[in-house]
């Protein structure tokens, strides 16, 4: 009875000691594998995931910054263009104003010159007519004195008579 129990126990222990009995029962390999994995885990956490996450964050930041820069540049472009247009419009209106002003000034100058010229012309005409009148007046008495003799001479030549005598006659007849 007791011998059977003992033999059963020895059989069990012999089975347990026999090494490759049941490969589904874990043995000391467990701890070595766990230790190896913990090393791998530590290295990957420290040297892989951390830097990779930093790289991903950095890249995301760069992308966001580039997008922001692009948006800013586009905004600046639009602003510059509108400013350019505004400046252009202002310059155009200023140029128009200047042109109008120049035209008005030119007209003014021309008018001034024309009126000056008119004054000069009137002056000159006046002077000329005055000079003519003075000359005429100065010539008139001398001419008046010669009118009689000249007309007599003319009449004599036309009539072929001596107008001097007929004059005296006519004078007598007239008186008579």
């Amino acid at each position: 009875m007791s011998g059977a129990v003992i033999s059963g126990v020895t059989l069990l222990s012999a089975e347990a000691e026999a090494g490759p009995t049941n490969f589904l029962i874990p043995n000391g390999t467990f701890f070595f594998v766990l230790a190896i994995f913990l090393i791998v885990f530590w290295v990957i956490a420290k040297f892989v995931v951390k830097p990779v996450q930093q790289v991903l964050d950095e890249r995301e930041r760069l992308i966001a910054q580039t997008a922001q820069d692009n948006r800013q540049a586009a905004e600046q472009d639009v602003a510059a263009e509108s400013e350019f247009k505004q400046e252009l419009a202002a310059a155009r209106s200023e140029a128009g104003g200047l042109r109008d002003q120049a035209r008005a000034e030119g007209r003014q100058v021309a008018d001034d010159l024309r009126s000056d010229a008119n004054v000069v012309v009137a002056d000159k005409l006046q002077q000329a007519s005055d000079a003519l009148r003075v000359e005429g007046e100065s010539l008139a008495p001398s001419l008046n004195t010669s009118v009689e003799s000249l007309s007599l001479t003319l009449a004599n030549r036309i009539l072929g008579v001596d107008a001097e005598s007929s004059k005296q006659q006519s004078n007598g007849e007239g008186r008579g």
Partner: protein, 253 residues
């Protein structure tokens, strides 16, 4: 006699056999630890390569694009289910889980087989996830982490009550079973898939060598896909468990 044995075709499959040693008084599967170290070395190499060449303004290297793609994908998953601020270590945890499991699973695609003395096909580098220790270590670590996050969020008394009660009080036993089932299903899902892959390779190795290459190529291609999907599911479920552990009554929507 030995010559005949060496040239005889593979006629048996060894399931779940490991080369063992005793380290620190514990029995360890040295082949699993060896393959795990290789996977860890590849992962760490990729990590240190990134550390050396990481850039935010220059042209990122292929390694950086890989890490970025994984991080972005996992970050969007974490953000969608729980938000990044609740447990900031979830993101590095799932990224490490995903990449580590992926590399560990893809180890099995290397065509490094030899025939053992007993006539079975043995992989030089077995995928570590075909060892229960590997998947349990990861799943229990995740289990402890998300419960810790839950305690931190809901309080030392409030969290157990929340977990037990769930949404409806009378389903408490089922909630408890579900809570226990989580790490088991998480670990055994990965284990089962990768273990099945190893058995498939063993089966295919029994075929005659003039045809063996075809199903081997097809299976290993599919195994790449399985390895990727399982790594992704492990990471995704980790996020899901974290979000379940850290949600509160008010945050239901």
């Amino acid at each position: 006699m030995t010559m005949i044995k060496e040239f005889s075709p593979v006629t048996s499959i060894e399931v779940g056999s490991h080369t063992t040693a005793t380290w620190l008084g514990m029995t360890v599967n040295t082949d699993t630890i060896y393959a795990t170290l290789v996977a860890a070395a590849v992962t760490l190499l990729l990590a240190f390569f990134l550390r050396a060449k990481v850039t935010s303004t220059g042209v990122p290297s292929g390694v950086q694009l890989f890490w970025e793609a994984v991080t972005v994908q996992m970050r969007s998953q974490v953000q969608a289910s729980m938000g990044l601020s609740l447990a900031p270590f979830v993101l590095p945890l799932v990224v490490s889980l995903f990449v580590f499991i992926l590399v560990a699973n893809w180890i099995s695609v290397l065509p490094l087989q030899f025939a053992s003395a007993e006539g079975g096909a043995v992989e030089l580098l077995k995928p570590p996830a075909s060892d229960i220790n590997f998947v349990l270590a990861l799943a229990l670590f995740v289990f402890i982490c998300y419960h810790a996050a839950g305690f931190k969020r809901s309080g030392i008394i409030g969290y157990p009550i929340k977990v037990t009660k769930g949404h409806v009080a009378f389903l408490a036993p089922i909630n408890l079973v579900e809570e226990i089932a989580k790490p088991i299903s998480l670990s055994l899902r990965l284990f089962g898939n990768i273990f099945a892959g190893v058995i498939m390779v063993g089966l295919i190795a029994m075929l005659p060598s003039y045809i063996m290459w075809a199903p081997n190529a097809i299976w290993k291609t599919f195994d790449l896909f399985v390895g990727l999907i399982q790594a992704f599911i492990f990471a995704l479920l980790t996020i899901l468990y974290f979000s379940q552990a850290t949600e509160t009554e008010e945050s239901h929507h």
